[in-house]
Symmetry: C2
């Protein structure tokens, strides 16, 4: 029964779409000129980014930093004149966690202060420790046996998977014309190879081993753990998988280290030289309020018939904890806020309501956006649609760093492609040209896509996102490119405006079937 | 009188040189094959580098780390069978200094552990400090006046001259063929421009202002100073100019910071947000032994007539203190030691004596090599020659990082060029092809050149020396390129061997006139 309903809805929506695509898509050149003027000549995007990064600080889900950012963004959007600006709970997340002290140094064979940060949601050391280091090398669970009885009161050193390399290629790059042209074509089908399965299985095996290791280090009475996920030159990556749940099992204090420092310790230990490490970390858990929150604010629609419909734009406000999450994703938030500010400054009268959403707990699995979608539109597990589902005209997301917009992913939605092509055309001279039919993943538009809503992510120049910024301790304000963020702000403002003014909502793909639906 | 003597000596030496240059230079292909075999297939250069860097640690002049390196290298060269291996005092240097604790964090508006290291030869904080920060911006001494009375008990923040940039060029590069071909020609004469004078004067003015600032911070009773010299992504540069003299004036505790951290503090202060910093540094001065030392060791000559003559090879063992000085200059030391080890392993019987020298206090002004030259060969101030002056056949130096050898600087010595060309030829397939008539500066061969001795530095691929390693906190073992160091070791071994076997010492340039000689 449920399935038939979904199919009927889906068919109804897709049936009207081809007609829309064939219309000449309206583009308002006058408003675009005004948007460019406001966004390029009176931009506030870097000021916003400064508040999100330097002033609020790291914004780990449910941390004090994210609380500061929630408060500041809610107030700032109200100051700009947006309405219904609010911090909206979305459900249960887990514990808050903040660093209050972080210090780690090698004290023998000589003194060397090291670069690292407590792994998210790990406990502190409860005062300063000074301990001998033991290197644990294990490719399988069986390898762990030989360390039994060796770890009590020691600091455990784990291996480094990838060593820093001297690089003969640049940290940062932009898409070439050739790369963009290739993206404008459908993705080549990637056959499901056994290599993929093997890689996935190997990854799962490593995760499982790492869990076993953590348990064993705890059982054996180790004092703390030093680990590293990679990076170079003082840049280190932080990793996922920490226990934020209110009822999470206890873990040891753990510091994620710069590879150079970790490798020095490893080389010394392997050469038989006794190594002693001093560390003092203090972390604070918050368990009073386990709920998660998003920040939303609106520019109300003015068309009698259409103002109940909504065009959304969003980005995630939460970040990892070792830096200020400048490119992941203060950049996206600052651009989305700036796009709204530009439209408000121009005092546009959108037909549909425009709603900015700043998500939380994206880094732990898109929790903020997924729960928002579940609360407002539909639960992907049942695909039971809520009344607001039919009211959403479009959702636009930005979460690929500080690079300027080069186009947009149509996310497999064929009918939206000519519309996006028309909307992009006025920005060709700013480098944004490409509508790709391809999907992109990894961020909050997926929450909308999962329930058949038209959710999109822009194509952005990669810059140094993968080499230096994404999830590292160096994702700081310096990494932001002002000109890129200004460009992105005006393009997003224009897209959102056009989506709000269009006669029809954006065409949708067929509704997905609920995973629980019986197979036909 | 003195001047005439020098001129006579100089004329005598240069008069014999053209005849030598016209001889077909002998190249011993058999020994080269053996050197390549030992140096490429049984290399110990990375093991040596590991001991110099990770095991000995940072090797600031007169530090405990340099003492460890002196001891280890002296013993290791003796173990390899070199003779007269010794730690040789060269005169007065100044105080030893080591870091015993280094911790700095922002504690308001929120907690953030920062990356930095005490500036060399600065005192510690005498326990933990937690203080408000004051930003001092001064382009001239007059600008300092407005901070009078504002600095007592504060941590002073100084400006950042160059901000980190997102880089679209690679950190590391190698010489192209075109660049090498250009180097093979004489340097274009650079006319003395007023721009050069202006730049020099501006530099001096900045130094003078910095000294004034330091004095003022001290007088005003500031608690400590945070400064930065540049860098990016967790890499920061350390700077020269610290007071190592035994009678140096007291200075404040000062931490050289990563630019990202310094800039975050600056941006917050400039936005009117109160910033508090916690720091604890402990540094240890050693004043028992103010002498400087070099390490020397020999492979004795075997030719009755020539064994009193010496071919030297060297590199400086001292480094800066925030890393382990891997490319500046454990790399050069490891290569020079390895070259000697290779020749010893092959049990060569050189006609002349081969002497390895590992210098100290190069970073403070080539003090180790300059004093060695003064003690053994000649004082450039008087150009009074000591008996050993006529016995030195050649000096080879390596101090441009971890890059492989691409050729050699003839240092304006025309007659040596065809000799070097012949010696390089067997290494063309390893990328070493270029003899440049040009000079290069900045390191210990200048000490020899200054008294008319044939001292040479090799051309090396730059790699990431200027971007990431030279004088930074990231000049660590990871930066070393094993294949490059092996290549350099075999080329140096061959050059040294050929210089030791040659019928004549290497031709010399005309002796320089002493700066104190009366003008004719």
């Amino acid at each position: 029964m449920q399935k038939l309903l979904y199919l009927a809805v889906a068919y109804g929506l897709t049936a009207t779409a081809p007609a829309l695509a064939q219309q000449a898509e309206k583009v308002d050149q006058a408003i675009i000129a005004k948007i460019k003027d406001e966004g390029l000549n009176r931009s506030q995007v870097m000021k916003t980014a400064f508040y999100l990064t330097d002033v609020c600080g790291p914004r780990l889900a449910n941390s004090e930093g994210l609380n500061r950012a929630n408060d500041w963004t809610q107030k700032q959007m109200a100051i700009w004149g947006l309405t219904n600006s609010k911090i909206e709970p979305w459900g249960d997340f887990g514990r808050g966690w903040d660093i209050e002290k972080s210090y780690v140094a090698m004290t023998a064979p000589y003194y060397h202060a090291m670069i690292g940060a407590p792994k998210a949601w790990t406990p502190g050391t409860n005062g300063a420790l000074k301990k001998q280091v033991v290197l644990v090398k294990a490719a399988t669970e069986a390898d762990l046996a030989k360390y039994k009885g060796q770890l009590r009161d020691k600091i455990v050193l784990t291996e480094v998977a990838s060593e820093p390399k001297t690089t003969f290629t640049a940290d940062a790059s932009r898409y070439t014309d050739e790369e963009l042209q290739k993206m404008a074509t459908p993705a080549e089908a990637r056959p499901a190879t056994t290599a993929n399965d093997e890689a996935r299985n190997a990854y799962r095996a490593r995760l499982a081993l790492r869990t076993k290791m953590s348990e064993m280090f705890m059982q054996e009475g180790a004092a703390a753990v030093l680990s590293t996920r990679g990076g170079s030159h003082g840049t280190f990556f932080t990793s996922n998988g920490a226990p934020y749940a209110a009822d999470a099992k206890p873990v040891l204090p753990e510091i994620e280290m710069s590879p150079e420092d970790q490798l020095r310790l490893i080389r010394l230990v392997e050469a038989g030289i006794p190594v002693e490490v001093e560390m003092e970390t203090r972390t604070k858990f918050q368990t009073q309020d386990l709920k998660g929150y998003n920040v939303v604010a609106e520019i109300p629609g003015t068309d009698r018939k259409l103002k109940s419909e909504v065009v959304m734009l969003g980005a995630h406000l939460d970040s990892w904890h070792a830096a200020t999450g400048a490119t992941d994703n203060a950049a996206g938030c600052a651009v989305m806020m700036e796009a709204a500010r530009i439209l408000k400054a121009l005092d546009v009268k959108p037909r549909r309501t425009i709603r900015v959403a700043l998500w939380s707990a994206e880094e732990q699995g898109l929790h903020g956006s997924r729960n928002y979608v579940k609360n407002h539109f539909a639960d992907p597990a049942t695909m039971k649609l809520l009344p607001e589902h039919e009211k959403l005209a479009a959702y636009f997301n930005l979460d690929n760093g500080s690079g300027k917009i080069r186009g947009i992913y149509a996310q497999g939605n064929e009918q939206v492609q000519p519309i996006f092509a028309a909307w992009l055309k006025p920005f060709a001279d700013m480098g944004a040209t490409t509508v790709t039919p391809r999907n992109t993943g990894g961020t909050d538009h997926l929450a909308f896509d999962a329930v058949g809503l038209p959710g999109f992510q822009f194509i952005q120049d990669g810059l140094d996102y993968n080499t230096r910024t994404h999830h590292t301790n160096m994702d700081t304000y310096e990494r932001l490119q002002a000109d890129d963020l200004k460009q992105a702000s005006v393009i997003v403002a224009s897209f959102v405006y056009h989506a709000a003014m269009r006669d029809q909502k954006l065409p949708r793909k067929a509704l997905p079937q609920p995973p629980t639906a019986p197979k036909s």
